[in-house]
């Protein structure tokens, strides 16, 4: 059990690194989540609305949106990150560091979240939508007061999945100097063969994911009245 002694000895040096890495991860993921919801939610709503039999059927629009989403979904994140470097520089003025990483993280997660939104909205009982039409509701009213509230548990579950995926993507952002826990695992754990850092980041990541998932589960349960 000598590793415990060694860990105890090294912990004072490791802790600040891990703590800063955690903060970097949360910083990247939370901002990226914000942008993902801001763009992914309307995109998902549009995918459902423009569908045949949707509120505003528009097969051409649906085809274009669907293609964009699929392109976004089919790029491996690490490739997408490199592909959008010039956009990242344009938006943040740099291609390095956690702030720069927010751009590819958001772009990678928007189509992912949009598909989850689409799936959640599709679960809403068509009868309820028909009933709203029969009551004389406008289409925007139906989106705001029927579709989104009825799908809320599914939307939150999808958001939690997206955040967890973003945490996983953010580890790759380390490769372009994004920082965060993933970066620490690669630089200290892999490149310097330091198992202590490797396993410590694993534990930290597990804790972060676990906390977010539990929080999400509680929210979903509270929102669901089925």
């Amino acid at each position: 059990m000598s590793w415990i002694h060694e860990l105890a000895e090294r912990w004072p040096d490791m802790w600040p690194v891990l703590w800063l890495g955690t903060l970097d991860t949360l910083y990247m993921v939370l901002w990226a989540t914000l942008f993902t919801v801001l763009f992914g939610l309307p995109l998902g709503v549009l995918l459902v609305m423009t569908d045949r039999g949707g509120l505003t059927p528009a097969p051409a629009v649906k085809a274009v949106l669907g293609a964009i989403v699929n392109i976004g979904r089919s790029l491996p994140f690490i490739v997408l990150m490199v592909a959008v470097l010039s956009l990242t520089r344009f938006l943040t003025g740099t291609t390095l560091g956690p702030t720069a990483a927010i751009v590819p993280l958001s772009i990678g997660a928007i189509p992912f979240f949009a598909r989850l939104v689409e799936t959640a909205l599709r679960e809403v009982d068509r009868g309820v939508i028909e009933a709203s039409h029969a009551m004389g509701a406008r289409r925007l009213t139906i989106v705001a007061k029927v579709l989104l509230p009825e799908a809320l548990p599914g939307l939150i579950a999808g958001l939690v999945m997206t955040i967890v995926a973003l945490i996983s993507y953010s580890a790759m952002a380390g490769a372009i100097g994004g920082g965060g826990l993933g970066d620490i695992a690669i630089r200290y754990g892999y490149q310097r063969f330091d198992d202590y850092y490797l396993w410590a980041t694993v534990v930290f990541l597990v804790i972060v994911v676990q906390l977010i998932q539990s929080l999400g589960d509680v929210l979903v349960r509270r929102m669901s009245h089925r």
Binding site: G127, V128, G136, R226
Partner: protein, 322 residues
């Protein structure tokens, strides 16, 4: 109250066309309960959805309360729809809203203020007997309670017409009974005109003033229920009172379109010296009247005179065709 003329609805599928309505005329009087009965696929559901333009008819016009809906679109159609309530087979309640908030929903759509909404929701829940469930969610209610919420919601915007899409088909018999009673009460107390579709003859029998039998997109028969029963060869009479086939010689089917207190059968025997043999029969209360149908074997020398006597008394007498 509802006047639909020459309704046709054609659905275009990829490789063929489906004719859901093939020239239907529907006239529902102010204050009556009108039932359209037919099997699934007969076009009832399409017909009901054409009345509030959830489906736009391919041809024909629909007028509700004197307003031609088929000429409306956009905001004016939405406004017209607020004057037509609808209840649904599977209730179509919002699972994310409480009972009270569900009932308030059409009022929100109509832009009614919060205080007025609250007052109105209280009234409506009292009307359907669910005041104590105001804060419950639909998932916590029984089927019958859900349909009461559905009815309260349909009445929220004080419609003159209520459309009922198989409102009792997902309910058990006892609950069906109570929901039909509620509809009958609303019809009487509020003067509400109700158009309902159903596949259950029982619903027609219990609450409908008028009825239509629908098959393959057309009305086979339509009119006041009691008039239809008094019509020779009526499909409705045969469906409401299914009798076993009687192919014995000399059998007639006798329909009582209203209540008779006289002992007619024994009188036949006495007066005309014929043998009367009741082979099958049913007596039911229809539109508040006791109505019956009998298969009777009548034999004897004076058979023709006996039948003439019955017809004279106002009974419908049909020689058995089978």
């Amino acid at each position: 109250m509802i006047n639909a003329v020459g309704l046709r609805k054609v659905y275009r599928l990829k490789d063929r066309e489906v004719l859901a309505l093939d020239g239907v005329d529907l006239h529902v009087r102010q204050g009556e309960i009108y039932g359209v009965v037919g099997q699934s696929g007969a076009g009832k559901s399409t017909l009901l959805r054409c009345v509030n333009l959830l489906e736009r008819p391919t041809a024909g016009t629909v007028a509700v309360d004197g307003e031609d809906l088929t000429s409306l679109s956009g905001a004016r159609l939405r406004a017209a729809r607020r004057g037509i309530g609808m209840v649904h087979q599977h209730f179509a309640l919002l699972s994310s809203r409480t009972v009270a908030a569900n009932v308030a929903f059409p009022l929100e759509i109509a832009g009614v203020g919060r205080a007025e909404r609250r007052r109105r929701v209280g009234e409506l829940l009292e009307l359907v007997g669910l005041q104590e469930k105001a804060r419950a969610y639909p998932a916590q209610l029984s089927g019958g309670q859900k349909q009461r919420v559905g009815i309260a919601r349909a009445l929220a915007s004080s419609p003159k017409v209520l459309l009922s899409d198989e409102a009792t088909s997902a309910l058990d018999p006892a609950t069906t009974e109570s929901i039909l009673e509620l509809l009958r009460d609303l019809n009487r107390e509020l003067g509400l005109t109700i158009l309902l579709i159903t596949h259950e003859m029982d619903v027609i029998k219990r609450i409908c003033d008028s009825a239509a039998i629908m098959e393959q997109g057309v009305f086979r028969e339509s009119g006041k229920v009691l008039d239809l029963l008094a019509t020779p060869g009526s499909l409705l009479a045969r469906s409401l009172f299914p009798l076993p086939p009687a192919d014995a010689p000399g059998v007639v089917t006798i329909t009582y379109p209203r209540q008779f207190d006289e002992p007619l059968m024994s009188e036949l025997t006495r007066r005309f010296d014929v043998d009367v043999n009741v082979l099958g029969g049913a007596v039911e209360t229809v539109s508040g009247q006791s109505v019956g149908r009998l298969n009777v074997g009548i034999q004897g020398a004076n058979r023709a005179a006996a039948l003439a006597y019955l017809k004279d008394k106002g009974l419908l007498v049909e020689e058995s065709t089978r």
